[in-house]
């Protein structure tokens, strides 16, 4: 390959001539990420080890672990970590259970038109502004919302069901918001399974569920891991869903961060909670890579 290029190009260093140096292409992006991503994140970590002083943002250089000790010594804060992780886990499982079938239908339907239409619907749902979708959720699930008024109208219930401003509302809201990510991660994985594997097993007498359990599900695991990681990371880091659907009654880590900063002005303490949220999200990532190596046998 390279030799033919040389004979055509005929220059002294033909490879260079035909394929010019590339490094300069990446300089702007690297500078941008260094200046506006790596340094800010480092500043956030730095300030979280600084002494808490209300209303002070500037770096005082007063190294202390007080902020972190406070988080782990007060139930208010470490319970929020548990709550965030717990909600994230429940949301991830629900998304997997209701997302897998839809991803399977999109990947396996024999009508290409239907597959494209469904994919566009999922993509549109994914891309639509979260706050707008939550508006719809709140109109549906409020005490005077559509679900409750219809149920009371037909006499099924006497008092409105508490669908919102509690942990249930937060979970439903998060499922609505993160479900498209799960589905899109799964479609690719299920599609890459050769259908003749399933068909062979079926023609040899396997039941549908046996095929699903022993062939389709194990082979789609890379997509399952990708989707669960993404959904978990998104669910624990969401501010807007617990704020609106939980009505500030379900206090998760992002809510704490915002309260510490916007209401109390304790930047250092807020930054410490943010660092913990960051590390939790990163740990999910690390676990995911570990699980991937062990179970998927490096197929991703």
């Amino acid at each position: 390959m390279a030799d033919t290029a040389i004979s055509i190009g005929g220059g002294r260093r033909p490879r260079r001539v035909l394929r010019p140096a590339l490094w300069w292409l990446v300089v702007p992006a690297v500078l941008f990420l260094l200046l506006f991503f790596l340094i800010p994140v480092a500043s956030l970590f730095a300030i979280s080890f600084d002494k808490t002083a209300s209303g002070v943002i500037t770096f005082q250089g007063d190294f202390t672990l007080d902020n972190f000790q406070r988080i782990f010594s007060r139930a208010l804060y470490f319970e929020a970590i548990g709550r965030s992780v717990g909600i994230g886990a429940v949301v991830t499982v629900i998304c997997l259970i209701i997302g897998y079938p839809l991803a399977f239908v999109i990947a396996r339907t024999l009508r290409p038109g239907a597959a494209t239409l469904l994919t566009i619907l999922v993509l549109s749902a994914l891309q639509l502004d979260m706050v707008i979708r939550l508006y719809g959720m709140m109109v549906l699930m409020g005490d005077n919302g559509i679900i409750n008024t219809v149920l009371m109208g037909v006499g099924a219930i006497d008092r409105p069901l508490p669908l919102m401003y509690n942990i249930f509302g937060v979970i439903v809201g998060l499922v609505q918001v993160t479900l498209p990510f799960m589905i899109l991660s799964l479609i690719g994985a299920i599609k890459s399974i050769n259908p003749s594997l399933e068909e062979a097993a079926r023609s040899l007498g396997s039941t549908r569920w046996h095929v699903m359990r022993t062939i389709t599900w194990p082979l789609s695991l890379p997509g399952v891991y990708a989707g669960t990681l993404l959904v978990f990371a998104l669910a624990i880091s969401s501010y807007v869903v617990p704020a609106l659907m939980g009505g500030w009654k379900v206090i998760t880590l992002p809510i704490h961060i915002y309260q510490q900063i916007a209401e109390v002005g304790r930047w250092q303490f807020g930054a410490a909670i943010a660092s913990i949220l960051f590390v939790t999200a990163m740990m999910a990532m690390a676990l995911y890579i570990l699980a991937l190596r062990r179970n998927a046998g490096g197929r991703v």
């Binding site: 394929r19 590339l22 994140v41 956030l44 993509l123 706050v131 508006y135 409020g142 880091s237």
Partner: protein, 268 residues
């Protein structure tokens, strides 16, 4: 065609549930925006353009829509240029640094939006060059979160690109820039356009990152709707939502014409 392994009925039923969860809230927003009453009841009272007109007269939602639109346009422009350059480097370079770079580019997506917004805000205050609570500070944040999507989409279309076509142009005397503009760019254009559309939509609907960076006088649409939702279900917000929904659906349709969505979802 006889299907040896048809889709199980349970799967179809659960799929229907998933679609209801995904789409009903969107339908509700459209209904609330076109409803004639003050509250959305079921069944709706009637159809009117009352709230749409109120949106066009609104001193909050219409300017917010404009800010979001302009911000998304600028974000997309910068992100596309940076992202195209990066994607070319990532697909062609043999350097070992590129895996590290690929990891760093994806990080802003994994990083919680609230955390990234806070980190940027602290950094802006420390440097004191006036980026804190400014349009430009917001723009930088939006470029950060859209860049990974642009790089992913363009990388996907560059992987299929046959480099010998560009080399042929070069050997016939084209400068690197000419070869890129006349040969490479037209071939990868669908991928680039799809990437720009995704970036636009992501920036337009960005909430979490914007929370710490927005100012009272430059409100984006998600922030304006969020603020109104804290107090009441303002039907004008739903009417603004209808325009956002139309924008997203149109752009997704255009993007799906440009690139084969199925290819984008397939694993490489």
């Amino acid at each position: 065609m006889h299907d040896v392994n048809p889709i199980p009925m349970t799967f179809k039923l659960v799929s229907a549930v998933a679609l209801v969860i995904l789409l009903v809230p969107v339908l509700v927003v459209v209904m609330a925006g076109l409803n004639s009453g003050d509250f959305l009841t079921f069944p709706p009272e009637g159809v009117s353009l009352r709230w749409v007109i109120s949106f066009f007269r609104s001193k909050i939602f219409l300017p917010a829509f404009g800010v979001s639109f302009g911000l998304a346009l600028l974000t997309t422009l910068i992100s596309t240029v940076l992202g195209t350059m990066t994607a070319i480097f990532l697909t062609r370079s043999k350097s070992r640094v590129k895996e590290l770079l690929r990891g760093i580019i994806v990080l802003p997506v994994v990083l919680p939006g609230v955390v990234l917004g806070l980190a940027l805000y602290i950094f802006y205050v420390w440097t004191g060059v006036g980026l804190a609570r400014s349009f430009w500070g917001l723009l930088i944040g939006h470029v950060l979160v859209t860049l990974p999507f642009i790089v992913a989409t363009i990388t996907a279309s560059l992987v299929d690109f046959d480099l010998s076509v560009e080399e042929a142009a070069r050997s016939l005397g084209a400068t690197p820039w000419q070869a890129f503009r006349k040969v490479t760019l037209p071939i990868i254009a669908p991928g680039v356009s799809a990437g720009t559309i995704f970036a636009f939509i992501i920036s337009f609907g960005q909430f979490e990152l914007t929370l710490f960076l927005s100012t009272p006088d430059i409100q984006t649409l998600p922030i304006a709707i969020y603020t109104s939702l804290r107090y009441a279900f303002e039907p004008t917000a739903a009417a603004a939502g209808i325009f956002a929904i139309a924008l997203v659906i149109t752009s997704t349709l255009v993007a799906s014409r440009l690139v084969n969505i199925k290819n984008l979802l397939n694993r490489r």
